[in-house]
Structure formats: structure tokens, C-alpha cells
């Protein structure tokens, strides 16, 4: 069993107006096999948390810690974090011209596992994972994310999640821009990865819709760079009914 532990995390970014603090003391513990939903209004810092865990250079950790099984994640480079078992399904996956999906998937798998995957089983694994996510076989020959629709990009993120088998996955608004069929396909993929790998999942979302398909064990409400409230799945139901107004009201007063 693994544990991803975030303690009193403060993160800032540089803007034209100067340094701006986005995360103002986030504390979260995620164990293998658990699904944590992070919900909150736009601008509350949800995506900043996701990018900071992955190590995006734009975000500066000013204090606090992130550890995985006691190892200091903040000391690791972006690629080292991925090899240690962290995976970020990005909100806006990047197009990488000139690099085919096939080449990319094999290169990444080799880097993560420390050895090249067995050619025959690998090709079969990729093909069957693509089929389950209803990704056209032709995508394997296309350049990474190039010309993919928003929904296709999200499926390809989940394809990687299934193939790379991380210990912890952070899904950054994976549900945004998906129609109901695509949402179901993508959710099934996450659930498969969850079951087969005993993965810990941090599911970041603005809407409760995806929680009909991926059942969280814990729900955390993010407001203004902090966890404002946490609870079980029933908290999501309450948000569904009442929205975020209750949390925003004091800020407006």
C-alpha cells in the first residue's frame, strides 16, 4: 500500500502584477485504492494543485510538503515523479508534432518501467486498451494529440493511465468538454485502472456529473486555495443540490 501525502502546501505563480499565492495551505492524504474528489468553483486552485503535484515549472512551492511513501516528491524532476508512479491526466493535453502515438507510448512505457515492453504483448495491450476506450486504431499512427478533438484527447489521457499503471493518478477536469457517451467511456477506463492497479485517485472536477460514474470515497471542497470542507460522497450530493454559494458567501460579505 502506498500513501500520497500533501501537507500545508503553499504555491504561488508569477504574474504580470507580481507574485500571486494560489494555494494557501492544502493538506490531503490519499491511500492506494481510494478515490478522492476535489470539487470547487473556478479559480479555487484545483488545477494548480494538479500541476504542482506533477511538477509543472510555472508553479512555485513556497512552503509545505508532498511525499509519496515518505519520499520527497518536491525534490524530484517532472520525469522522476512520473517514474515514481505519479500520473497527471491533463486538462489540456499538449499536441506534440512529429511524434507518433505509437512511438510516444512505447518510449514512455520504457521510461516508466525501466525496460522496453515485450513487443508482442505490448502491441496487443495497446490495441485492446484503445478498443475499450473506443479510440480508432488509426490514432496509433497519428502524432500525439495532433488534430484530436477535445474528447479524443481526454480518451488518450485515460489510455495512458491504463497502460502506464501509476500508483497515483490526478485527473484534472477530465470530464470537461465530454458528452455523455464519452464521459461513460472515460469513467469506465478510470474504474478499470482503479480496480486492476489498486490505484489512488485524485479526481478534480467542477461538476458532480462524473461522480455518477466514478464513486468517490471522499469529497473535498476547494475554496480560495484551501480545503473548505470535506466529507463522504453525500457532500457531493449536497453540492449538486445547493451549488458552491454556501462556501462563497463569506468571501463576498
Amino acid at each position: 500500500m502506498s500513501t500520497l501525502e500533501i501537507k500545508d502546501l503553499h504555491v504561488s505563480i508569477e504574474t504580470e502584477q507580481g507574485v500571486k499565492e494560489i494555494l494557501k495551505g492544502v493538506t490531503l492524504t490519499i491511500n492506494s485504492g481510494e478515490i478522492h474528489a476535489i470539487m470547487g468553483p473556478n479559480g479555487s486552485g484545483k488545477s494548480t494543485l494538479a500541476s504542482t503535484i506533477a511538477g509543472h515549472p510555472r508553479y512555485t512551492v513556497t512552503s509545505g510538503t508532498i511525499t509519496m511513501d515518505g519520499e520527497n516528491v518536491l525534490d524530484m524532476a517532472v520525469d522522476e515523479r512520473a517514474r515514481a508512479g505519479l500520473f497527471l491526466a491533463m486538462q489540456y493535453p499538449v499536441e506534440v508534432p512529429g511524434v507518433t502515438m505509437t512511438n510516444f507510448l512505447r518510449t514512455a512505457k520504457t521510461a516508466i518501467d525501466g525496460e522496453a515492453p515485450k513487443l508482442r504483448t505490448w502491441a496487443k495491450d495497446v490495441r485492446s486498451a484503445m478498443e475499450k476506450l473506443k479510440i480508432d486504431a488509426d490514432f496509433a499512427n497519428r502524432n500525439v494529440n495532433e488534430g484530436f478533438s477535445g474528447g479524443e484527447k481526454k480518451r488518450v489521457e485515460i489510455l495512458q493511465l491504463e497502460l502506464f499503471k501509476p500508483k497515483f493518478a490526478v485527473l484534472d477536469e477530465t470530464d470537461s468538454g465530454l458528452d455523455i457517451d464519452a464521459l461513460r467511456v472515460v469513467s469506465d477506463g478510470v474504474n478499470r485502472a482503479q480496480e486492476s492497479n489498486d490505484m489512488g485517485t485524485l479526481l478534480i472536477t467542477h461538476y458532480t456529473r462524473i461522480l455518477n460514474y466514478i464513486k468517490p470515497d471522499y469529497v473535498h471542497v476547494f475554496v480560495d486555495g484551501r480545503v473548505a470542507e470535506q466529507g463522504g460522497p453525500e457532500l457531493a450530493d449536497e453540492l449538486e443540490a445547493n451549488g458552491y454559494d454556501r462556501f462563497l458567501a463569506p468571501a463576498q460579505a
Binding site: 506533477a54 511538477g55 509543472h56 515549472p57 524532476a77 517532472v78 520525469d79 515523479r81 512520473a82 517514474r83 497527471l88 491533463m90 493535453p93 499538449v94 506534440v96 508534432p97 512529429g98 511524434v99 507518433t100 512511438n103 510516444f104 518510449t107 514512455a108 521510461a111 516508466i112 502524432n143 500525439v144 495512458q160 502506464f164
Partner: protein, 429 residues
């Protein structure tokens, strides 16, 4: 190609559409181009890393440019001329003077093959000079100072499965070397010529490619010069009826390389593809100019040059001229240049010039983009566990691979991949 949505029957004269409903393309009148630019990608320059310029049109018409085989028609350039304004003329003086060869480059046919002959042609001996006409000072002095030209001829109907390699070797750095090579592919022959330049010289080398009717010719010009070599050259081709011509220029070595690759058509039904790959390191000046002269109807052309730059004062220039003359109805043409700037201190110039003198064409477009290595690409790949160095290589290789693949000869592709690895090692990628 867009057709009129009108339900009216198009007017026809002898099977050719005329009148208002005829085929046209947006922005075109029969008088020529109405828009400054056709469809194109936007140019990217990202804060402070490298510089670049893109311009859609410059100077006068390409149709007005002097071409001649007489040295008297070309003055020594001053640097103000459109065709010389990017070039380091001080150093190029050594190959622009009307000077004889000091130490010749050796030109060797690597392997003999059935149907291929290697002979010589004197200055006025046909077919030498039937396709080639110098378009600048460098080309004309190189031509007239090459008393004997190498003539490689492929007999009619010969289909060669192996490439014909010509090893062109500079034997003395700083020594002037002039040469002229005539590659002649007779009707319905099929051949891949590979011109492999190595060693060092102040080389002024012109190539004349005669593609007879129905022939299928590829010319791969590999510039693998030593670091102090200078190479100027004009590589002209004329494409026969229903013939195919592919020209691939790969420039990796040399201090200054300035190549003009030109194409025109002898009849109809010709297909031209012109590819270029260049990788400039610190201090290198690599300049490629392509000119497609659509001088007759119903021919096609596609031009794609891609370059990578790294290191202080790494410099590349691409100027792509396409001229669709009044007579060239039914032309289909496209040209594109893309540059990837990997480090600070490098500069890429990219200038597509498209001139269209008739609206009755299938299509014409140009695009140019110069971007720096994108940190977002890097983050995405690294977030999947791929180490930084490997991620950079993946992107650069991926970017240039389109051209390498276009060569279509496995053995050459492999050696170019190796060269690119070495190039990437230089900047510590």
C-alpha cells in the same frame, strides 16, 4: 479548389470551362493574386529566444530575374541585391570571383550499374546548358570556369533499384573548386541520384538535371562537408511530360552553404516535390532557395523545407519562390517552410514568395512558421516519465523526420538519423 455553387451549366469552349462559372480560387482574378497572402500558418516568435522574419512578398517579379550563361551579365554583388541580402558576402567573395579551380573536387561514381554511363561534356556541348541557366553571379562563374562537366546518363526505360551514388569530395580547404554535373534521365527511366558532399573546399558546384518524358527521378543532395567548407551551387531541373522529379537537399555540414534549387517544366503532367532539411550549429550559415517556375499548364509542385537551429549565430535562410505564369493554367502548387529554434542566439529567416498570373489554377498556397522548442511539449513528455534529453530528441527528430522519410532510401535515412543524433549531442540535448 472551389467550384461555383451556381446551378447553371458552365460554359465550355472545346471542353474547357470559360465564363463566370469557371473554376477559380478565392482571392484570385484572371489578372492574378488579389491578396497579399493566401492561406498560411501564422508565424510564431516567442519571447526573446531567437529571432525570425517572415515576409510574403519582396522585390520585383521572379520572372524579371536575369538568367544567362555569360559572366558579363552578372556584376559582383554588393549585398543590396534581393538575392544576396541575407548572405555573408565577405566570405563568399572567394567563390564569387571569376576564378579558375585551384584544387578540384573529386567526383566519383561509387558503383557502376547497367544503363548508367559516366562521361564528360565540354562548355557548349549539348545537353549541357540546355536546362541550366545561371540565375546569379555564383552560378555563372562556376559554370564558365568548369571546362568539362561530369555527365551521368541513365538510358531510356532503365529502372534502377539501387541509388546511383556520386561522391563529391573537397580535397583542399580554402582552395577554389568549380564543377558542373549533368544528370540526364532518358524517357521512362527511373533513378535515385545521391550526391554526397564531403571534405572541404571553396566549392562552386552546379547541377543540371534533365528529366525526360515519363521519367521518375530523385536527386538527393547531401551536404556533409567539414566545418570550414564553403559551398555555393545552383541545381536546376526541367521536368518532361508526365515525369516525376523529387529533389531533397540535406545540409548538415559546412561553414557556409548556399544552394538554389530550381524547377521548371518542359510540357504538361509533370510533378515536382522539393524537400529540404537543414540543421545549423553555432556559426553556420545555411541558405536554401527554391524556385518553382510553373511555365506551362497542368503541372504540380510541392515544396517543404524544415530546419533546426542551435548555438550562437547559427543562421538559416529559406526563400521559396513560386511563379505561376499566365500560361500555367491548371497548376497545383504548395510551399511550406518550418523552423525550430532550439537555443538562444540563433536566427532563421523564412520568405515564401508566391506570384500568380492566372486565376485558372487548381490551387496555390504557402506557409511559413518559425517557433522555438516548446516547453509545453517538454513538460508533457516528461510528465510521462521520459527524461528531458530524450524528450528533446524525440521532438526534434519528430519534427525533421517528415523530410528524412521523404528520401525513400533506407540506407540514407539511417545515416541521416545518426547525423541528427550527433547534431543533438553538440548542444547537449
Amino acid at each position: 479548389m472551389t467550384k461555383s455553387a451556381s446551378a447553371e451549366q458552365a460554359e465550355q469552349v472545346e471542353g474547357v470551362e470559360v465564363g463566370e462559372a469557371r473554376i477559380s480560387i478565392p482571392g484570385m482574378g484572371e489578372e492574378g493574386e488579389n491578396l497579399a497572402t493566401a492561406h498560411e500558418e501564422t508565424e510564431h516568435t516567442h519571447g526573446g529566444l531567437g529571432e525570425s522574419t517572415t515576409k510574403a512578398k519582396s522585390g520585383g517579379s521572379r520572372a524579371d530575374r536575369t538568367t544567362s550563361l555569360s559572366v558579363a551579365d552578372f556584376a559582383v554583388p554588393t549585398g543590396r541585391e534581393e538575392e544576396w541580402r541575407f548572405s555573408p558576402l565577405k566570405k563568399l567573395g572567394r567563390v564569387l570571383s571569376d576564378a579558375a579551380t585551384q584544387t578540384p573536387v573529386t567526383i566519383k561514381l561509387r558503383k557502376s550499374a547497367e544503363g548508367v554511363t559516366h562521361g564528360e561534356l565540354a562548355l557548349a556541348q549539348s545537353p549541357r546548358g540546355t536546362v541550366f541557366s545561371a540565375a546569379d553571379r555564383a552560378a555563372v562563374v562556376g559554370y564558365s570556369q568548369s571546362a568539362q562537366a561530369d555527365h551521368i546518363k541513365v538510358a531510356a526505360d532503365t529502372e534502377l533499384t539501387e541509388p546511383v551514388f556520386l561522391d563529391i569530395t573537397g580535397e583542399a580547404s580554402g582552395h577554389r573548386a568549380n564543377a558542373h554535373i549533368v544528370l540526364e534521365a532518358e524517357a521512362h527511366s527511373k533513378v535515385v541520384f545521391v550526391l554526397e558532399h564531403r571534405g572541404s573546399a571553396d566549392a562552386n558546384l552546379n547541377v543540371e538535371v534533365i528529366v525526360r518524358d515519363g521519367a521518375d527521378v530523385t536527386v538527393v543532395s547531401l551536404q556533409r562537408w567539414d566545418g570550414d567548407a564553403i559551398h555555393v551551387g545552383q541545381q536546376d531541373a526541367e521536368i518532361g511530360r508526365d515525369a516525376k522529379y523529387k529533389h531533397v537537399s540535406v545540409t548538415l555540414g559546412g561553414e557556409i552553404v548556399r544552394l538554389n534549387s530550381n524547377v521548371r517544366y518542359a510540357a504538361e503532367g509533370g510533378e515536382a516535390s522539393m524537400y529540404g532539411l537543414y540543421f545549423a550549429d553555432a556559426g553556420q550559415h545555411l541558405e536554401h532557395r527554391s524556385f518553382v517556375d510553373h511555365n506551362s499548364p497542368r503541372n504540380s509542385s510541392n515544396v517543404l523545407y524544415k530546419g533546426a537551429l542551435q548555438g550562437q549565430d547559427a543562421r538559416t535562410v529559406w526563400v521559396g519562390d513560386v511563379l505561376i505564369r499566365k500560361a500555367a493554367e491548371g497548376t497545383d502548387s504548395y510551399e511550406k517552410n518550418q523552423n525550430l529554434i532550439l537555443t538562444d542566439g540563433a536566427r532563421a529567416d523564412s520568405i515564401p514568395n508566391l506570384e500568380i498570373e492566372t486565376g485558372l489554377i487548381e490551387g496555390a498556397g504557402h506557409a511559413s512558421s518559425t517557433g522555438r522548442f516548446d516547453e509545453n511539449h517538454l513538460f508533457y513528455l516528461m510528465a510521462r516519465g521520459i527524461p528531458e534529453k530524450e524528450a528533446r530528441q524525440l521532438v526534434v527528430r519528430g519534427f525533421l523526420n517528415e523530410i528524412v522519410q521523404a528520401i525513400g532510401v533506407d540506407s540514407i535515412e539511417d545515416t541521416i538519423h545518426q547525423d541528427l543524433e550527433n547534431e543533438l549531442e553538440i548542444a547537449g540535448f
